[in-house]
């Protein structure tokens, strides 16, 4: 579907977007989200041109600070920054410097002294990015904090849905799998609820956060029941590395009950679309036949939208950065 019918973002909307950081979907308004998605639409078009480069962030320094390994999110942010003309530096802080005793705040202060303009942060602890944002002067983008939020993933999912299905309002969307550990699920629940979707979550009770029903979703334990009449099925990765104790007996049993294959997908609305934030555990939560079917799967589109959404976020936040020298920077 083409985005040509979507009008470019209005100047008035841009003026309303006054956030300094993007720490989560919580704190954004529907107007903010529409602005970011509209802006991202223009970048989807740009990214499909031969000449993809803009000078918007020329002179700006973007640091991607990843305390957890990431391939797709980090490269997506890197590409987004570079296409907008920023100088992008990737920093992967492994276990080594943690062992040396440097704390998150020490790292933040050190980087802050190097005068970056945009800091993209992923960390394994919920709330860590917000903590870091309190200690630096630049714009901070949450690229995933623990099991809390992953706002750009939710925005790119919304952009993918909007471009394929027109509007998000009224869609029946099922989020399936390891909700307990998923920051993607939390951000998507907040965002899709705000845009008027009917949300369901499907998982065994051991993979649901306590009191999940209070988050504005319908809870199902049976996948065939939960998928009924759904327009969209969002599968989540089973985060085996975060699991302590025995949350599921085996991946074989998990796939039998909660893995998405063509058989289970029949319970959803005919023509239902399938999404996955990646990386996929094929044969654990999703069958390759579903994941690789271009008629059903939006997974490749999600990756494409990811770059555009991140360009939109970098663009929008940089508009709120001071244009003067750092000495006169914000209070």
């Amino acid at each position: 579907m083409s985005a040509s019918h979507i009008p470019p973002p209005q100047a008035a909307d841009a003026a309303l977007f006054c956030a300094r950081n993007l720490l989560g979907i919580e704190g954004l308004s529907p107007v903010d989200i529409k602005f970011l998605l509209d802006l991202a639409d223009t970048y989807v078009e740009l990214n499909r041109q031969m000449e993809k480069k803009r000078a918007l962030l020329r002179g700006r320094t973007q640091i991607n600070l990843f305390f957890e390994v990431s391939t797709r999110t980090q490269s997506s942010f890197e590409l987004a920054g570079k296409r907008l003309g920023a100088d992008v530096m990737n920093m992967s802080v492994g276990a080594s410097s943690v062992k040396k005793g440097e704390t998150l705040i020490d790292t933040a202060m050190t980087l802050n002294a190097m005068r970056p303009d945009l800091l993209v942060v992923r960390h394994g602890a919920s709330g860590a990015v917000e903590l870091l944002s309190q200690k630096v002067d630049c714009a901070v983008i949450n690229a995933g904090d623990g099991s809390h939020e992953h706002p750009t993933q939710a925005l790119l999912d919304a952009l993918t849905l909007r471009r394929h299905l027109g509007a998000i309002e009224g869609l029946r969307i099922a989020i399936c799998g390891d909700i307990l550990h998923s920051r993607v699920a939390r951000s998507n629940i907040l965002l899709l609820n705000m845009l008027g979707a009917h949300l369901r979550i499907i998982a065994p009770p051991t993979l649901l956060p306590p009191r999940a029903a209070r988050m504005g979703v319908e809870v199902f334990h049976d996948m065939t029941e939960g998928l009924r009449d759904c327009d969209v099925v969002m599968m989540l990765r089973l985060q085996l590395e975060r699991m302590t104790g025995s949350l599921i007996p085996s991946t074989r049993e998990y796939f039998h009950h909660y893995g998405l294959d063509r058989q289970k997908l029949k319970y959803a609305k005919p023509g239902a679309k399938v999404m996955h934030p990646g990386p996929m555990n094929r044969g654990v939560e999703i069958d390759s036949a579903v994941a690789d079917d271009p008629e059903i799967s939006l997974i490749q589109d999600q990756v494409e939208m990811g770059v555009a959404v991140r360009m939109a976020v970098l663009d929008a936040l940089s508009r709120n950065l001071p244009n003067t020298s750092h000495e006169k920077a914000r209070v």
């Binding site: 704390t103 998150l104 705040i105 960390h123 602890a125 919920s126 709330g127 860590a128 917000e130 903590l131 904090d145 623990g146 099991s147 809390h148 939020e149 920051r183 939390r186 956060p209 306590p210 009191r211 999940a212 209070r214 988050m215 302590t244 104790g245």
Partner: protein, 445 residues
């Protein structure tokens, strides 16, 4: 006979929770003891006539009550003096109207040997300005494997036995501890927590933790151990005190056990009476406590339990933490909050809002812990130690963490509007704390 050691506190609202006294009157101390107390000591305008016999302190109608006894205080000495020493903790206590602190054995080294109990007592004698009573470890090194030498420790001065923040998970060992302690009539104090259920948990389990993406600690982690302990007390007929409870379900278990006549008491922290899980807000680590701040229903149950007398004691659970232990992502931060200086005003919130009569509230911080621990203080009676707190009940102010005497400033109450402050604290007949400008008008004559 003129004795400089004889001090008369006149024009006081005397409150003695042990006897139920609440009347205007005077109190005379002689040396380290209370000599006389009563409404009729200085009838009418007699005060000027005796001013040459006594040092006179005009209380101007403020409350004079026994100094508070705080049954759960963590101090960094020995081993973590950068967080708190016995000296700084005692100064904080004095500023909070607390005249006796019971210090926990979770230090480095652990207080699990008679010589270490002796060390705490001597260090306290030399550096502390309030009474310090050490609890000794229940198990060697707090490892939950081998009992400490309770008899020798008790002789050395250990007032009770606890593994501090560590639960004893081995039920057989807990049974043996309760059973062996009864040889000496010793009190076993336990922190109820099933570590397999609290593993990785950072705050109360529930909707709010789910939204923050934090692993939760279910109330059942506490209640399971409380239920087990009650069964073991029934089996051994031991003396048991639950160091701190946090949820309604545990309270029900304790109440049923008390109805069956078991020798069980329990305490709640001032912050569990005042705060709930929502106060964690956006990952505020000063609100990370152990046990965690619970749901509002649980907080209400704590207040209700206290007003019914089902909860015996209020503690500060004073737990100083250095900035490097708190300026961390929430899940990685150490739990604990300082509380000696806020114990009284935070507890008084429940008097001011009408939940609990003043005398009952003060009892939970004076007579009740004194009785449970067998201390001579905690009452206004001739012969009792002259440990006193003079309190301006109504004084309103905004609490400022910067003014804390404690070496660590990790209080959850910074900026809270409080009512009631300590004007003077007396330990063993001597003033160890006087609020500047307090009693300015008449003051000491």
């Amino acid at each position: 006979m003129i004795t400089p050691d004889q001090i008369a506190y006149i024009n006081a609202r005397l409150i003695d929770p042990a006897s139920g006294l609440d009347a205007m009157g005077a109190l005379i101390t002689f040396g380290g003891e209370i000599q006389a107390v009563g409404a009729d000591l200085f009838p009418g305008e007699a005060a000027p006539d005796v001013s040459d016999q006594f040092q006179i302190i005009d209380c101007q109608g403020h409350v004079l009550c026994p100094g508070l006894i705080d049954m759960r205080v963590f101090v960094g000495e020995p081993g973590a003096e950068h967080k708190e020493t016995l000296a700084t903790a005692s100064q904080a206590a004095a500023a909070g109207g607390v005249t006796s602190i019971i210090v926990m054995p979770d230090t480095n080294p652990v207080i699990d040997d008679a010589s270490l109990v002796d060390y705490i007592k001597r260090r306290s004698r030399d550096t502390a300005i309030v009474n310090v009573y050490p609890m000794a470890a229940l198990t060697k090194g707090l490892e939950g494997a081998q009992l400490t030498e309770m008899g020798l420790l008790k002789e050395a001065g250990a007032i009770a036995f606890t593994d501090g923040h560590r639960p004893v998970t081995n039920s057989r060992l807990m049974r043996q501890a309760l059973s062996y302690a009864s040889t000496f009539g010793a009190l076993v104090v336990h922190h109820a927590e099933d570590p397999s259920l609290t593993q990785n948990g950072a705050m109360n389990e529930g909707e709010f933790a789910s939204r923050l993406g934090l692993a939760g600690i279910p109330a059942a982690a506490e209640t399971i151990i409380v239920e087990r302990d009650v069964a073991l007390v029934e089996l051994t007929q031991g003396r048991y005190h639950l160091s701190q409870l946090s949820c309604a379900a545990s309270l029900r278990v304790i109440e049923q056990a008390k109805e069956r006549g078991l020798d069980i008491t329990c305490a709640v922290s001032a912050h569990h009476l005042a705060l709930n899980e929502l106060d964690v807000g956006e990952y505020r680590t000063f609100f990370k406590t152990n046990p965690p701040l619970r749901a509002e229903e649980d907080r209400q149950a704590m207040v209700d339990g206290l007003s019914r007398g089902a909860i015996d004691i209020i503690v500060s659970s004073h737990d100083p933490q250095a900035p490097e232990n708190k300026r961390l992502p929430f899940a990685d931060a150490s739990p604990g909050s300082v509380g000696l200086e806020t114990l009284l005003p935070v507890a008084l919130e429940h008097y001011h809002n009408g939940d609990i009569p003043l005398c009952d509230l003060l009892k939970a911080m004076t007579a009740a812990p004194a009785q449970r621990l067998g201390l001579p203080s905690g009452r206004l009676a001739p012969g009792a130690p002259a440990d006193l707190a003079l309190i301006d009940l109504g004084a309103p102010y905004v609490f400022d963490a910067g003014a804390l005497k404690s070496r660590s400033k990790n209080t959850p109450f910074d900026g809270r509007k409080l009512q009631g402050r300590v004007l003077r604290t007396v330990v063993g007949g001597k003033s160890v704390y006087e609020r500047e400008n307090a009693l300015q008008a008449a003051g000491e004559r």
